[in-house]
């Protein structure tokens, strides 16, 4: 492999290490990284431990090898949305907005993270922070956790999560009323691909009063969602 000059800054070194872990693959050891990057061993040890402390890298069970952590996926947020809406899909979404009133947002689920595809311009997202860090407190997050393909470490979220997940699965939609803001709530329905995999969600932010009887509202959102998903996925 071609040797490159050692990076000048810690940040440069950190990215060089992440890149090397991606290139070499899971299980790469510090010794391999030192050899491949040409950086000083003590610098590599320090940066690797800092990256592991921040959970961009994870130490494998033998304590020697490393793999990229899930948190690396956060870096991709700066790449912008992974999904762009066609003109037809956008028109269909606007039609749904006119029909249901309230803040209707379209989000996608990829790598078990929420990415906003199209925000309702009139209504900002309730609590983007909560959505990312405590998804189980939001309707969008609950729907994601309930429909995730891989098993989640539910204990990492909340003790009440299994119950929440059961409710979402039984009803076919996720709801949150008065939990983040008094008098307001959110209802999210899934958008699935032809194989039934949930890839995105439509979420309606509205008053608690309208969410008092959610089944009818969910039914309407499901209808919009079904047509919209035919245009997207």
């Amino acid at each position: 492999m071609m040797k490159r000059p050692a990076p000048q800054t810690a940040l440069g070194g950190a990215f060089r290490i992440l890149e090397q872990v991606a290139r070499a693959g899971a299980g790469v050891t510090t010794r391999d990284i030192v050899a491949a990057t040409g950086m000083a061993p003590s610098t590599v040890y320090r940066l690797i431990n800092q990256l592991a402390e921040e959970e961009y890298l994870e130490r494998l069970p033998d304590l020697r090898g490393f793999a990229l952590g899930r948190r690396v996926a956060e870096l991709s947020e700066s790449f912008g949305p992974t999904l762009t809406l066609s003109r037809a899909a956008h028109a269909r979404l606007e039609q749904a907005r006119a029909d249901v009133r309230g803040g209707l947002h379209l989000v996608s689920y990829s790598n078990e993270r929420v990415t906003v595809i199209d925000l309702d311009p009139d209504v900002p997202l309730f609590a983007p922070d909560v959505l990312h860090h405590q998804p189980e407190r939001t309707a969008i997050g609950r729907l994601m956790l309930a429909t995730a393909h891989t098993r989640h470490d539910t204990a990492a979220h909340a003790p009440t999560l299994p119950a929440l997940v059961e409710t979402v699965r039984a009803r076919g939609y996720a709801i949150q009323v008065d939990e983040l803001r008094r008098g307001a709530g959110c209802l999210a329905v899934p958008l699935s691909d032809p194989d039934g995999r949930v890839l995105a969600a439509l979420s309606l932010a509205t008053s608690s009063a309208r969410l008092a009887e959610p089944d009818a509202l969910a039914e309407r959102l499901h209808r919009h969602g079904a047509e919209l998903s035919a245009l997207i996925v």
Binding site: E19, A26, P41, Y45, E55, G65, A67, L68, D153
Partner: protein, 499 residues
Amino acid sequence: MSELVNVIRDPSSGRVADAASLSAVGDRSPLDGLDRRSLTPLDVFAQSAAAVGPAGVAVAIPAILASTAGSSALWALVLAGALTVLVSWAVNQYTRRMGSSGSLYTFTVKSLGPNVGALSGAALALGYSAVILFSLIGSTLVIIRWLGIGDTSVTRWATAGVFVLLAAAVAALAVRTVRRSTRTALVIEVIAIVIIVAVTIWFLVVIDAPPVFEVTSLPTGADAPAFLTAVALAMTGFVGFESAASLAPETRRPRINVPRAIRWTVPVALGVFVLSMYAETAGVRAVGHGMGMPHGPGTALPGTFSAPIAAYVLDLAVVGSMFTAALAHTTALARLIMTAGREGVLPRRLGRLHPTLRTPATAVVVIWLGLVPPATVLLLQADPWSVALKVLVCAVLGFLVAYVLVCAGVAPFLHRIGEWTWSAVVGAGAATVALLGIIAVYAAHIAPESWPVLVGAGAFLTAASGAMIWRRVRGGLRIGLYDQVVGSDLLTAPQRASR
């Protein structure tokens, strides 16, 4: 950085360098079931700070040090603090890289192997349980004195009653969610420290204390043995600083927050100790006595100078500090027992957690039951306080043995994981040598009076670690469980990567 971008866009394209090490990644941590990532940085700091119990130690230790090293006692304390900083740095070589409810026991298994690890586990268990016993007996005795029950036939019943109530309160708090128990410990310990610092400053003002350098002196060559003894005794005041390590699986960003809690506990405790040591030395110079309790609980602020209210407030701080120390060490001991239970070194049932509270409830109950017989014996003694102090000697020995093993393990550990550096190895080597010296000086100091305690502690360590080794070998058990990475922590899940 195209490869990084590719794998972020499509995690299933992740490459594999070492399939064997990746295949060891499971769906669940071996310490699964704890209330993961529920503790904030402040909570884990509370665990370490409460385990040290700076308020209680600050009242008790200055008189002991002053009677050993005289006017150079303050510098013995500072040197002991510096040594403890070095030991805490060695402990953090592990906590930055792994987390385990088994704390130093698990670290030693991972560095010096399962047999030495068993010794560490036994030593930690001895230290934890002896501190719990000492703290509960100490606070019981102060409360009994408050109640004003003299030396009558009801004393024993009242003492037993107070002890059982305190122990039940500790057990109940330890079983509740880990966050509630650390928060409770934090509040009580902060109040206790504020009281100690306020009363100490008030004392210094009232006696019009002379400047530090007038009342203290650096040790001379002739004082060396006494000075070193004082350093060893002072170091005992810091034990428990590593306690945050046992909560790593329950902490947010544990590899940042646990080392930080351990790193900050020692200087904070040292600050409180130095202030009260200064008050002691200045007090002896100015009014003939300090403000501590040289002869047991109930003698705080002696002499003509004292205001009764200050003595009560000080006692309150001591009781609070002892109570939180008992709580913090119960929390740590329960997690140690739970880890050994999961490994099978102790009965598997002890590895169970409470299904909703997510705490090692079975282990807490076992600790509580285990405390009753020795406590009964101790409280029936004619002078329970002096017996309690002997228990404390046990505790200190347990901790020092565990510390020396963890320091000695740094070099093999770093070698094993391929991160060996000279600075780490030299630092840890210095800490090991210093600790061995401290243990020798401490043992020599207490041997004439407390040799049965030394023999008893040695016998316990031999028997307990022997039993652990026997169970491990007979059962073919793999020990050293820690909170290892699970598939959902990785960008590329193992099953997808291996496809």
